[in-house]
């Protein structure tokens, strides 16, 4: 298929924006968390400093670490970058969009998860395996929930291609979809879980009773760790964009109006800022769950999403 120069441009822009802005979003959220908890906040650019520092350090790997261990950070980073490239954040006219639809996107996240879990098991420390197990435990409930949430939108727009969803959502006349309400709640829960946020996980602590993400990356250092952290913020960015695409698909540029990107970029920034604040708020007001409560928490999301589907089937909307 022929790719229009604008589309190509949009794709590049989106990649760059994602890579650049992802740590910023993380920083923004951390800042707000701090403020909401009456702490003095770190700088907005703190994540960049951390990444830079880590990249400079000499990497350290366990003696028995296999190639899989070393390859994983790059693979995970690649997955997240691709995810950010697929989700229509800046424009819906992305050359990569048709290559992977919503289901493929979920598959992509799963791929990353499987790799990181395997890498965590590779060295063979108690922590690694524990982290891997918990990650997969969260994953096997979060994935279908996410998928169902996406399906709610797909049923409405009768398409699983994200850009098509955004197009339809944004440009059919405004309408309230009850099913999307369920989907929204489900999606929020899932993204909390997937991005290692309170109440599911707390990146700030290293308490083995609770930690998931930190346990996974425990063996990593330097550039590997940096890439993983960066990938984490990319994941957060991607999730936010998906959320926006599903629930606030307004202001995203279309194929017919390439220059709309000039509007869509600030719009995106604004939406992310608000979303980040909301996330910080949620994290502040909610308390960390026990690890065995997490499946129930996610099960709620799963059930809600399914109910969303049923509601759609019932009301035909």
């Amino acid at each position: 298929m022929l790719v229009s120069p604008y589309a190509f441009l949009a794709q590049v822009v989106q990649f760059l924006v994602a890579l650049a802005a992802a740590p910023l979003l993380t920083g923004w959220i951390n800042q707000w968390r701090a403020w909401l908890q009456n702490k003095t906040a770190p700088s907005l650019l703190q994540p960049y400093y951390v990444l830079h520092k880590l990249f400079q350090k000499e990497a350290v790997a366990a003696e028995n670490a296999s190639p899989l261990f070393r390859a994983t950070p790059y693979v995970v980073f690649g997955c997240m970058a691709l995810a950010c490239g697929i989700v229509p954040a800046v424009s819906t006219d992305l050359p990569l969009a048709p290559a992977a639809d919503a289901i493929a996107l979920v598959g992509l996240f799963a791929l990353a998860r499987v790799f990181i879990s395997l890498a965590a098991m590779d060295v063979g420390t108690a922590f690694g395996t524990l982290g891997a197990r918990r990650e997969m435990l969260i994953g096997f409930l979060a994935e279908p929930a996410l998928l169902m949430a996406l399906f709610c939108a797909s049923l409405i727009t009768s398409s699983t291609s994200l850009s098509a969803i955004v197009n339809k959502m944004a440009h059919s006349q405004f309408q309230l979809y009850p099913s999307m309400a369920f989907a929204g709640v489900a999606f929020t829960i899932v993204s909390l879980a997937e991005n290692a946020r309170v109440p599911v996980d707390n990146p700030a602590t290293h308490l083995e009773l609770t930690m998931v993400h930190e346990a996974l990356v425990l063996e990593y250092s330097a550039r590997h760790l940096a890439l993983l952290e960066w990938a984490a913020s990319l994941k957060l960015f991607a999730y936010s964009c998906i959320g926006l695409a599903l629930f606030f698909p307004y202001g995203v540029a279309q194929a017919d109006a390439p220059l709309a990107m000039l509007i869509s970029l600030p719009a995106l920034g604004l939406k992310l800022a608000v979303g980040g604040f909301a996330l910080a708020l949620i994290e502040t007001v909610s308390a960390k769950l026990r690890i065995f409560r997490v499946p129930e928490f996610l099960a709620v999301a799963f059930v809600l999403a399914v109910i969303g589907l049923l509601v759609h089937g019932l009301l035909g909307a």
């Binding site: 000499e58 366990a62 693979v75 639809d101 590779d122 098509a164 425990l218």
Partner: protein
């Protein structure tokens, strides 16, 4: 004339297979000869068969009659797209297993290699003949021969009691299934007495009898496919067999059951009824959930794979059910979509499950261990097996861009259309099913991470594992062949769908071929590009590109220095390999969440126990719900029957006296 050649050539190939077996029987103990001459030859034959089958897939049907068999009913053979598809699957998969066996076969106790070789090839031939059979008799003969030969293969070293009971259970259930199939044919022929499929096809059964036939088919073929509750034999028998055989049984033999079901439900029966589809859907779902949940808690690597096969067959049944439902409501296109997903999954599962079983075979030979609790860290000593196995594991967990994902993707796509079903009940049901399918997929990923991680990653849990040797050359070839298959099938689904297109045209009168091709070979869009599209090639390229780019960039911008140090011990220096998470540990969360699925016996040591032992046995409810009661019933009836025979001659005379009087009363009138 060239077309006529095709089927005859196929039959010849099959005959040569048997011939190879017989040759092996002549020199039963010459392992080297059998391994290095016969098995590679049969692998080549498999390739030829696969090629011929693919040719036959696009050719019009051909039939031929062999003068053998019953006088009134000689062996009819016929190849149409459906049988050709399954024949291709058999060819491709068996090529892998045969070449693998060439490296795998070695002296040892148990059946003599030559005999094994014979049984193996009879097994292959029987499977091929099952899909070629065109009358009830030849089908039954092939079907039972398949069961019988695989039974003997399972019993390869029958000195182990557990293997014996496994074999018994297997053959018994296989036979009961076969009886159901025979009855099914009996119903289908509608007392015309003509058992050729042509005639069965021609019969116009009333709905009631059609349903009976369908149910019998579900029982018969379900027993072979390991559909709950007829699954109990599968996790016992598959692990018991030598690995190449387990691979064939899981990867290929189960598919013949799918073939049989499709043949009966779509081809031989002239009507379909809505609740059939719903039934299959329900059964499939139950099976899939059951299978995957049990997969996650297994501690024996081959058992784990066996349960995963149950899960996958469940998914296949779900797809078949959907296809059937759409067919009944006259939605040919959707039916075709569902069927495509199903058949694609059949092919994918054949590849990756065979691959995984063969990998376990290599591990078994290198370490002599099947227990996950005693493996680990093999990626360092057996890189070939590990990396090729990784491909299989990823494909099995349905991750893009590999084969497993495509079928899952297609299946989920199908679900998104189901809201157009006429009955609201199904509309309500289907989203739930879709959710369950998604859950199953995610859980299978969980199980595969456990499988791969515990076997190949971490530190070796036993000292001997440090000296395990990697697979031999032939084994590597076999593994690589199948792994390549997984990748290719994942990257170029469109070309596979071209073939499947013919099958769906045959069964439901519609094919995805044209729509798929509308968007070029790169982009898979089953219905329309607006609706959904997926391009594994681009997906992989971008992924690889960004990964490579990051790696290079990191090196260029900063540096690529790496220092090797001991793993961080969290300040606790006395760590051993045994302190890693065990396979039980890995499955524990699932065991907790899905507790109601299992029947568990757990004995936990007390805190003051000097030498604490933790043991957990996970069992299957169905055994206690169904099989034991049936057994008891038979016993009771037998005891009653035994009363008749209680040794006193006068009583015996009395029997015959009374019989005489009764007969005289009845017939004297």
């Amino acid at each position: 004339m060239d077309r006529m050649l095709n089927l005859d050539t196929i039959l010849t190939v099959i005959t040569i297979w048997v011939g190879i077996g017989v040759i092996a029987l002549v020199a039963p103990r010459r392992t080297r000869f059998i391994a290095h001459a016969l098995f590679p030859a049969s692998a080549l034959l498999s390739l030829a068969l696969g090629a011929l089958a693919i040719h036959g897939l696009f050719a019009p049907p051909q039939a031929t009659i062999l003068g053998l068999g019953l006088p009134g009913l000689p062996f009819h053979w016929r190849i149409d797209s459906l049988s050709a598809f399954f024949l291709a699957v058999i060819g491709v998969a068996s090529a892998g297993t045969s070449i693998f066996s060439a490296g795998y076969l070695r002296k040892g106790e148990g059946t003599a290699p030559g005999l094994q070789c014979l049984q193996y090839h009879v097994f292959l031939a029987a499977m091929a003949l099952v899909v070629l059979a065109d009358d009830a008799y030849s089908f039954m003969v092939a079907w039972e021969t398949m069961a019988l030969s695989s039974y003997f293969l399972v019993m390869a070293n029958a000195r182990v009691a557990s293997i014996r009971s496994a074999g018994y259970l297997y053959l018994l259930l296989a036979h009961i299934g076969a009886i159901a199939v025979l009855l099914c044919f009996g119903v289908l022929q509608a007392s015309t007495g003509d058992f050729t499929f042509a005639n069965l096809r021609a019969q116009q059964l009333p709905p009631f009898w059609a349903s009976i036939a369908f149910l019998l088919a579900v029982i018969g073929f379900g027993a072979k496919a390991g559909i709950v509750p007829l699954h109990v034999w599968l996790p016992e028998a598959h692990p018991a067999a030598p690995s190449p055989v387990s691979a064939l049984m899981s990867g290929v033999m189960l598919k013949t059951a799918v073939y049989g079901l499709l043949r009966v439900a779509f081809d031989l029966l002239h009507i379909q009824i809505a609740w059939w589809g719903a039934l299959l859907l329900g059964l499939g779902l139950l099976t899939a959930m059951f299978g995957v949940v049990f997969t996650t808690v297994q501690t024996d690597m081959k058992r784990l794979l066996a349960f995963s096969s149950i899960e996958n067959l469940g998914l296949v049944f779900v797809g078949t059910g959907l296809a059937l439902m759409f067919r009944t409501y006259g939605m040919q296109a959707l039916s075709a979509l569902a069927l495509t997903a199903t058949l694609f999954h059949v092919a994918a599962h054949a590849l990756f499950k065979t691959l995984l079983f063969l990998a376990t075979g290599s591990v078994l030979h290198a370490t002599g261990e099947r227990n996950l609790g005693k493996l680990g860290g093999l990626i360092r000593t057996m890189p070939w097996v590990a990396w090729l196995g990784l491909i299989g594991a990823l494909a099995a967990s349905g991750l893009p861009p590999l084969a497993g994902f495509v079928s899952e993707w297609l299946l989920l796509q199908t679900f998104l259309f189901t809201t157009h079903l006429p009955t609201s009940f199904l509309n309500m049901l289907v989203p739930v099913v879709a959710a369950a399918v998604a859950l199953v997929a995610a859980l299978s990923a969980y199980a595969m991470v456990k499988f791969f991680g515990v076997i190949f990653l971490g530190q070796p849990r036993e000292e001997k594992l440090r000296h395990s040797r990697d697979a031999s050359r032939c084994e590597r070839i076999g593994l690589a062949w199948l792994a390549a298959g997984c990748v290719m099938l994942g990257l170029f689904p469109i070309h596979a769908i071209d073939g499947i297109d013919r099958v769906t045209r045959l069964l439901v009168g519609f094919g995805l071929g044209p729509t798929v091709h509308a968007n070029g070979w790169l982009l898979l869009a089953p219905t329309s590009i607006q609706r959904a599209s997926y391009s594994p090639v681009i997906f992989l390229l971008v992924l690889a590109a960004s990964t490579a780019f990051t790696a290079i960039a990191a090196r260029i911008v900063y540096h690529g220095r790496l220092r090797r140090v001991p793993a961080w011990d969290c300040g606790y220096p006395f760590q051993t390999a045994r302190m890693q998470d065990t396979s039980e540990g890995f499955g524990q969360p699932i065991r907790q969440i899905f507790e109601s699925f299992f029947r568990m016996h757990r004995d936990l040591p007390s805190p003051f126990d000097a030498r604490p032992r933790y043991r957990v046995v996970v069992e299957d409810h169905f055994w206690y719900w169904i099989y034991q009661p049936v057994q008891a019933l038979v016993e009771r009836v037998a005891r009653l029957a035994g009363r008749v025979q209680q040794g006193r001659i006068s009583i015996y005379l009395l029997y015959s006296f009374l019989t005489l009087l009764m007969m005289l009363l009845l017939m004297g009138r």
